[in-house]
């Protein structure tokens, strides 16, 4: 019988090393961004870089610490994880999308009128 369990000292060390490198890299990029006065990397790409590094680290830990990739065949754990991930994306991205849009479309006049209706305005 084939037991597919790759958890070993080596996988934990690799997971730890990679996570450490990714964390320090993210920290270094953020620090560099502050040191150069928000010039490099620019404000626009900063979120993208940090998001990428975080997602890479997520997969590193899922593979090396949680051993999700070496799960044996009916991959129920993986299936539940994918479901949770989809729900998570819908909730987070959906909320940000809708609320930022709402924020963007609300004019200062509308905001003032709203505040006036609440407590006599500013």
């Amino acid at each position: 019988m084939k037991t597919k369990n790759i958890a070993s000292f080596k996988t934990y060390v690799m997971g730890f090393g990679l996570s450490l490198a990714l964390t320090l890299l993210a920290y270094g990029v953020a620090q560099h961004h502050l040191n150069t006065g928000h010039v490099f990397p620019s404000d626009r790409v900063m979120p993208l870089i940090l998001l990428t590094l975080a997602v890479v680290q997520l997969f590193v830990q899922l593979i090396f610490f949680l051993h999700l990739a070496s799960e044996s065949k009916p991959r129920w754990r993986g299936a539940v994880a994918v479901f949770a991930l989809v729900m998570l994306l819908v909730v987070v991205a959906g909320s940000v999308w809708i609320m930022d849009n709402l924020n963007y479309r609300m004019t200062p006049t509308q905001i003032n009128n709203y505040l006036k209706s609440q407590d006599g305005g500013i």
Binding site: A7, S8, F9, Y12, V13, G15, F16, S19, L20, T23, A26, Y27, A30, Q31, H33, L34, H38, D43, M46, P47, L50, L51, L53, A54, Q57, L58, Q61, L62, F65, L66, W76, R77, V80, A81, F83, A84, M87, L88, V91, V92, G94, S95, V96, M99
Partner: protein, 200 residues
């Protein structure tokens, strides 16, 4: 017939363990959705400073990096505890559980220090929407860490008294799953709340 009953007898011995761990995994994924809603709340309120401070004014990056490294190291030592358990080395399991506990407790200590410092400066959760969302998200993570630390103590005393066995292995596996999960949540708190809060 004989074949059938043999197979039926063979099944229960192997499966309950996997089922329990799988059930716990499902719980963890549900917990993930709880954090998703808190992350969404934080994302929506991230600029709602009112007259309070922004993230750049109140967060210290080196401090948060220290917290992150502590938690990451503890995730690693938790893995070593699992490996020691597989090798049936009781004292090593206890040693690595102890190291994990100490690292986790240091992380919690730093977090509580940050919270009390913020509250002391007048920047508690009552100051602005941003701070409310911040305290709820990071505080919920801290509450999870606290409960896992208590679980770790119970686990260690159980191993101390009863030694290593099958049930213990199953419980230790779930404890480790939970701990790794909390570390993963922290990666995203570190990235979105702190790094982006300071730079963005």
């Amino acid at each position: 017939m004989n074949q059938m009953s043999k197979r039926e007898l063979a099944l229960p011995a192997a499966e309950p363990e996997d089922k329990t761990v799988f059930g716990f995994w499902v719980y963890i994924m549900t917990d993930c959705l709880l954090f998703a809603s808190l992350f969404a709340t934080f994302a929506v309120l991230r600029f709602s400073y009112s007259d309070g401070p922004s993230g750049a004014e109140i967060f210290s990056l080196p401090f948060v990096l220290a917290e992150t490294l502590l938690l990451l190291s503890s995730s690693f030592t938790m893995g070593l505890a699992l490996l020691a358990n597989r090798a049936k080395l009781k004292n090593q399991v206890l040693l690595w559980l102890g190291v994990t506990f100490i690292l986790g407790a240091m992380f919690l200590g730093l977090e509580l220090h940050e919270f009390s410092h913020l509250a002391h400066e007048g920047n508690s959760w009552r100051r602005s929407g941003f701070l409310s969302a911040f305290f709820t998200l990071v505080g919920t993570h801290g509450a999870h860490i606290t409960s896992d630390l208590i679980w770790m103590l119970v686990m260690a005393s159980r191993i101390w008294h009863q030694g290593l066995n099958g049930v213990g292995t199953k419980r230790l596996t779930m404890l480790a799953l939970f701990w790794h999960f909390l570390d993963i949540i922290w990666i995203f708190i570190f990235t979105f709340v702190y790094l982006l809060g300071v730079t963005g």
